[in-house]
Amino acid sequence: MRVVHYINQFFGGIGGEERADSPLEVRPGPVGPGRLLDQLLGEESHVVSTIVCGDNLAAENLDDVAVAAISEVKASGADLFVAGPCFQAGRYGTAAGAVCAAVKEKLGIPAITAMSVENPGADLYRASVYIIDSGDDVSRMQPTLAAMVRLGKKLSAGEKVGRPSEEGYLPQGALKSEFVEKSAASRLADMLLAKMRGESFEAEVPIQATEPVPVPPAVTDLSQATVALVTDGGLVPKGNPHQFPLAFSRVWGAYSFAGEEALAPDDYEVSHGGYDNRHVEQDPHRLVPVDTLRELEKHGAIGKLHEEFLSTTGNGNPLANSRRIGREMAKRLKDSGVDTVVLTST
C-alpha cells in the first residue's frame, strides 16, 4: 500500500504559530508523525510522500490545498490518504477534513483523518470521511495512528467496516440495516430494564448533545426587512424535483413562487412520512404561509417576502445531517439578501 500523508507546519517541524503561513510543500517519504505511521503500516506499506502546509495558509485556501493534495496522490500512485492526527487544532482539523473529503471524492481512494470530537473539523467532515477519535491529548499519537492504520487497511482491502465504537471513528450519522434476532419492542424493553437496573446499554439511535445557539439580535425595522419562509415539513412542487425521501433526507430545495399571490394547491405536494399530509396538500399555507406574508408585504408591515421558500423533510434526521442542511440553507438565504426567517415545523 502506498500512502500520502498530510500534516501541518508544526508536525512538519517548520515551526509554531509564527510559521502558520508556510506555503504547501511536498517532501519524499515520511516526516514527523509520518515516521511512526510508516512503522505501523508494516513491511508491505509505506508513506511515499508527505504534504506539509501552514495552518493559516491551509484554512484560508482549502480548495487550493485540496487540489495540490489530489495531484500529489495521483502522481505518487497512492492508494490511501492519511491526514493528521489533528487532536484539538481547529485549522489543522478543518484542513485535514476538507482535503480527505476532496481526495476521497475525486480519486475514489480511502482517506482517513483523526481529531478530537470537539475539533470544528469533526462536525464539518465526520459524515463524509472517517475521522478517528484522537481525543485532545497529543500523547495519544501512537494509539491514534494505530487505529488509523487498522481502518485504512480494512478500507483498502474493501473489508466490512465495523461500528464507530468498534473501529474508533466518530459516528457519521449513518444508519445501517442489520438482521437481528429480537424485535424492536423487545430490544427496547431490554434497554429499559437495563436502565432501571443501572446497567449499561447502547442506544440504537443515540441522542446527540446539542450546543446552545446564541440568540441573534432582533430585527430593528421589519418594514425594511426581507423575510423568507423555510419549512422542514416537506412541501415540494408537484413531481418532487429533488426527490425528497419520506424520512432521513439528505437533500433540500429552494422553490420560487415569484409573482404569485399564494401557493396553488394543485402545484404542490408533500414528501414527509411523519405526519398526515392531506391537510397541507389541500392548502399549502397551512405549512408555508405565503398568503399571510403577501398581505403583510402589501401593507408594508414587512419590506419584502423572499420570492422562494426553502424546504426539506425533517423526519428522523441525524443531527449532523440537519446541521449541514441548515448551514447550506443559511448560506443561500444570506447570499440572497434575506434578513430574517420564519421556519415552520410539523
Partner: protein, 62 residues
C-alpha cells in the same frame, strides 16, 4: 429566525431561540376544521406572533 412548531419543547431543546407554538402537527399555520375566514385569521395571528418575536430582543417561547 422564529420557529413555528407544535413541538415547542423539541425546538427549545435543540437550541431554537424564538419559538412560537404552531396550531397542530398536521398544520402548524392552519386548521382544516375552521371555516376559511377563521382559518386565515388564525394564520395571521400565528405569523404575527412570529414577527413579534423577531423584533423582540432575547429568547421567546409563546
Amino acid at each position: 429566525m422564529a420557529q413555528v412548531t407544535p413541538m415547542t419543547p423539541v425546538a427549545v431543546a435543540l437550541g431554537s431561540n424564538r419559538v412560537i407554538r404552531g396550531w397542530g402537527i398536521v398544520y402548524p399555520t392552519g386548521d382544516s376544521d375552521l371555516p376559511p375566514n377563521e382559518e386565515r385569521d388564525l394564520r395571521r395571528r400565528i405569523v404575527q406572533q412570529a414577527l413579534d418575536a423577531l423584533t423582540t430582543e432575547g429568547r421567546t417561547e409563546v
